[in-house]
């Protein structure tokens, strides 16, 4: 089921950023087990720079595990994961190199509650990138403005709403100037009216050409920004296609069943 992301018809939004030939992430025959449980089965995936991929599937299908393997929050036992030409092995140096280039967003935001919004954003640039504090704060302010909450910079995360916290989390990731962003169900823990404000920021990010891998159930978002939608079930990639084809003309029965469950209720 390999496909060429180039020359593909534009998705519903029509906003197509250039996708380069450069490979950002490469997964070759990746397997992962939790104890005896086989969570990821022979995953092959190539992500080009600038691509925006939405991964969906029923719960327990391994989609979160898959993207968590990409920055080594989970360890794979077999196969090869190469991010930015660095292979992820047990080598801590490599892992840290990859992690500073790959931003990640979590379902529960995971902001650091003991630090202000500003400190959350400047922590990694200062300590990992060795950026001077003033520069880090300037960068942080730029991204806080981009996610539209510069006025909250001196507050603590506990004083913000869920949507605001998730936007801070996006700003925090962007401050590291990542080359790839991973999203692990970023809107699942949010109230409906807050989902929109987070998705808006994510759409903006997509339009800026960020390489994105996004596990989400927001099919509207998938239609609007994805170049490719991947459907996973039982630890396997069942189907991948551009959103147009994926939603209107799903090939496998499992995909059809899944789509009917999430779209018609």
């Amino acid at each position: 089921m390999s496909m060429n992301p180039h020359g593909q018809e534009s998705s519903a939004s029509g906003s197509q950023m250039a996708i380069s030939d450069e490979v950002a992430i490469q997964l070759n025959n990746v397997h992962k087990w939790y104890g005896q449980f086989h969570v990821l089965k022979d995953i092959n995936l190539t992500v080009h720079r600038g691509e925006r991929i939405v991964i969906c599937g029923p719960s327990g299908s391994g989609k979160s595990t898959l993207i968590r393997c990409i920055n080594r929050l989970e360890e794979h036992q077999k196969g090869q994961i190469i991010v930015d030409n660095i292979e992820l092995t047990g080598d801590l140096k490599h892992i840290e190199l990859v992690r500073r280039e790959v931003g990640m967003l979590f379902q529960h935001f995971n902001l650091f509650p003991h630090l202000t919004v500003m400190e959350n954003c400047t922590l990694a640039p200062i300590w990992v990138r060795k950026m001077p504090k003033a520069d880090a704060e300037e960068t942080a302010m730029k991204y806080l403005e981009r996610v539209k909450i510069p006025e909250q910079a001196q507050k603590f995360p506990g004083q913000l709403s869920g949507g605001q916290q998730q936007r801070v989390a996006i700003a925090r990731s962007l401050c590291m100037n990542p080359r790839v962003m991973l999203f692990d169900e970023p809107t699942s823990a949010l109230d409906p009216e807050m989902i929109a404000e987070v998705l808006d920021v994510m759409v903006g990010l997509a339009e800026s050409g960020m390489t994105m891998l996004c596990v989400t159930h927001e099919m509207g978002f998938a239609r609007k920004v994805a170049n490719r939608v991947i459907f996973m079930d039982g630890g396997e990639i069942i189907e991948q296609n551009d959103p147009e084809q994926f939603f209107n003309n799903p090939k496998s029965d499992r995909t059809k069943l899944f789509l009917s469950q999430i779209l018609h209720h």
């Binding site: 920055n71 929050l73 801590l92 840290e96 190199l97 992690r99 500073r100 790959v102 931003g103 990640m104 979590f106 529960h108 995971n110 902001l111 650091f112 509650p113 003991h114 922590l123 990694a124 300590w127 990992v128 603590f156 995360p157 506990g158 004083q159 989390a169 925090r172 990731s173 590291m176």
Partner: protein, 369 residues
């Protein structure tokens, strides 16, 4: 009431003051003291109990007490005889430390208290440095001041140390050392490296599994047996090491509680940003984990502070030891109660101080989540 509420148009209702019966002193008393009949009965009983207990205590400790004089003949024995404490005060505070050298101890106290007060000055910059000085610089200064033998200060051997001074030295060393060692042990116990993990578990379980009395006995009686002939370790140092390791083991488990209470997401977010293990621990995990377990840490400190009285059994005369020694002096037999009340009061001051400080810290570090 219903007529009043019609004075306002719907949607324009102003904020009215709460009824007087639910606020102020009367409101507080109604809610807390006389809410129900059992509550009222308990209130009355408590007041009667206090009326029965407090006047005799005040009479004994203050009104009928003897305050002036130099010998036991000045004690009328109608109330407490604080002359006893007055006469023995220097020994209770400093043990047999030479009188001419006591200024060294006082100087160290002054430095510590001054640095401590600076920590409370609101808005002062450089507080982390003051804290670091108290934890790292001050012990070195205090060591040279207390021990002497250099900088032209006469040597004062540790058998002369005693009283509240010795209590503060032992508990101070225990407190300052147990937190960092405990943190390292706690991290080690959660390490993914089997060797480090087993070493830490063994250390913790070993020290936590024996009573402090046993540790002190071993330190003073058995430990020298294993040393080569002629080699001699200061008894105080042996006791200090015992207290230090003992309290570190307790501290390790308190800190581990904090580490485990943090959501996994905090670790993952820190890792995902590319922070290394030590940066993740130092910048993200420990600040939160330690804040969570401040009550447990202070609990351990207070326990340690009071446990130092056990050094009496290996022949070190701490605060309580000196009180007992003074009470068994033939000239001053029969004043044990005054001595113990004074000792209890002394311990209480320090423990209550630690407790209040921990509450202050908790409030200060609260960030509204």
């Amino acid at each position: 009431m219903s007529e009043q509420s019609q004075d306002y148009t719907t949607g324009q209702h102003p904020d009215l003051p709460a009824p007087i019966t639910s606020t102020g002193v009367i409101g507080w008393a109604r809610i807390n003291l006389f809410a129900t009949i059992p509550n009222t009965i308990l209130t009355v009983l408590a007041v009667l109990l206090l009326l029965w207990l407090i006047p005799p205590v005040i009479d004994w400790a203050f009104i009928s007490a003897d305050w002036s004089g130099q010998t036991r003949d000045d004690c009328t024995r109608e109330g407490a005889c604080w002359v006893f404490i007055k006469v023995w005060f220097r020994q209770l505070m400093y043990g047999r430390y030479p009188v001419d050298e006591i200024w060294r101890i006082n100087l160290a106290y002054i430095i510590a208290v001054a640095a401590g007060i600076l920590l409370f000055v609101p808005g002062l910059r450089g507080k982390p440095w003051i804290g670091l000085f108290l934890l790292a610089g001050f012990p070195i200064i205090a060591f040279y001041l207390f021990v002497g033998g250099s900088f032209g200060l006469p040597d004062v051997e540790t058998p002369l140390w005693g009283g509240l001074f010795l209590t503060l030295v032992i508990s101070g060393v225990g407190i300052v050392a147990s937190l960092p060692i405990g943190i390292v042990l706690a991290l080690g116990r959660r390490s993914k490296m089997p060797v480090v993990r087993s070493l830490c578990i063994t250390f913790i379980e070993l020290w936590r599994g024996v009573p402090l009395i046993t540790v002190l006995f071993m330190a003073s009686v058995m430990f020298p047996l294993f040393l080569p002939e002629g080699m001699n370790f200061d008894k105080l140092i042996r006791a200090l090491l015992g207290v230090m390791f003992f309290s570190s083991a307790y501290m390790a488990e308190v800190v581990r509680g904090g580490l485990q209470a943090l959501p996994k997401g905090q670790y993952e977010a820190a890792q995902a940003l590319g922070l290394s293990y030590w940066k993740m621990m130092g910048l993200v995990i420990l600040p939160q984990a330690l804040k969570l377990v401040i009550p447990g840490i202070v609990n351990t400190f207070i326990g340690l502070f009071k446990d130092t009285v056990l050094v009496l059994i290996i022949g070190l005369f701490d605060f309580l030891g000196m009180v007992q020694l003074a009470g068994t002096n033939p000239d001053w037999l029969g004043f044990a109660i005054e001595g113990y009340v004074f000792a209890a009061f002394g311990f209480w001051i320090f423990c209550f101080g630690m407790s209040r400080y921990s509450q202050h810290l908790e409030k200060k570090l609260h960030t509204g989540h």
